[in-house]
Symmetry: D2
Subunit: 112 residues, 4 copies
């Protein structure tokens, strides 16, 4: 079995042992991702870009894992194939950001 | 090769073709995750929990894919083993939320 | 003097007594707002809409005050007239959401 | 009448003309603040701290106004006195961050 599915299965097992499926509706899972993303960002608040690279690796791993966990739970809830949706998004972004227009430029596609 | 690594490799290829590594510092990658998380949440704004379950599946996939993409790029940048950090977080959360205390209760561990 | 200016002055006094102006660049102030907004949202995570109305009033006040504080500091830093920019935005939103089209409908203006 | 109350009254008038009070529950207003905060942050994504200071002033005003608008609507909904809650939070933060300990240091109070 693939690693992504292994992770989703472990997360679901953790959730179900605690009878938490009742709380894991789509809207609240999305909210949870966003709250975890803010906790990740808090590691860098008031820090320069350079200082931010020196972030405590343990904390970075934990915050990132939280975001991934809720994202995988949400994907699993809707039966999405994570590999497929990310590859499709890369393809779509390739059309929005063609290499010749986007190279070296950090602008949104509608400003390119 | 595992699916997670395949995704990270594809994301890095996409990034490098556009010479975007220069923008992808840790602080801004974290910010990007949080902005994509807000776009995901916008799908559910002013919607009830029930209405939110009926979200357009294509949009949900795309927003989720964006969050996963930046999360994987950040993990890749720091050389993290995604499977390992998520499994470790599940283990740690198991200690913070023991089944007997957390079952059926959606409270933070420090309020249990 | 007006209440908004009184608040900005108090916030600046607090900041300057701690020599924090050096950290309060525009990008990090925006990030701080977003982190405080997530803390506000955490009060409602896994809670129904109805349960959320019964939120602890003290916590709600504090999280809201944090968001307002950083927003006022950012406005003050750029010399914005808070009353003016909010009234202007209301006017602009009135054009994007004309009463006859938007009445009773919670859609984005480009979907109306 | 004070400027803050003038703003809340205008926002409520705008909301009520569109029959939007039904959507403005506490949980969704908090979510709206967080989504607007992300739009503010998007102005600075992939930009250096220095570049961020040169942000388009019109856009900054609009995003900040959106955050303030939903924050004031939430405060108004709960009958909070905005001036009072911000002054109280400043006082409380003064205890968490005493000048002698916090001067020139951008750490959270529990790390000081």
């Amino acid at each position: 079995m693939d690693d992504i599915q292994i992770l989703i299965d472990e997360l679901v097992k953790f959730r179900d042992a605690r009878h938490w499926e009742q709380f894991h509706n789509t809207k609240d899972l999305a909210l949870a991702i966003s709250i975890e993303a803010a906790e990740l960002n808090e590691l860098f608040l008031w820090k320069t870009t350079e200082e931010s690279e020196l972030v405590d690796s343990t904390k970075l791993k934990e915050e990132l894992a939280d975001i991934l966990a809720f994202s995988l739970l949400l994907a699993g809830k809707h039966g999405f194939d994570v590999k497929e949706i990310v590859l499709e998004k890369i393809k779509k972004n390739g059309e929005k950001y063609p290499v010749e227009k986007a190279k070296g430029i950090a602008k949104k596609y509608d400003e390119l």
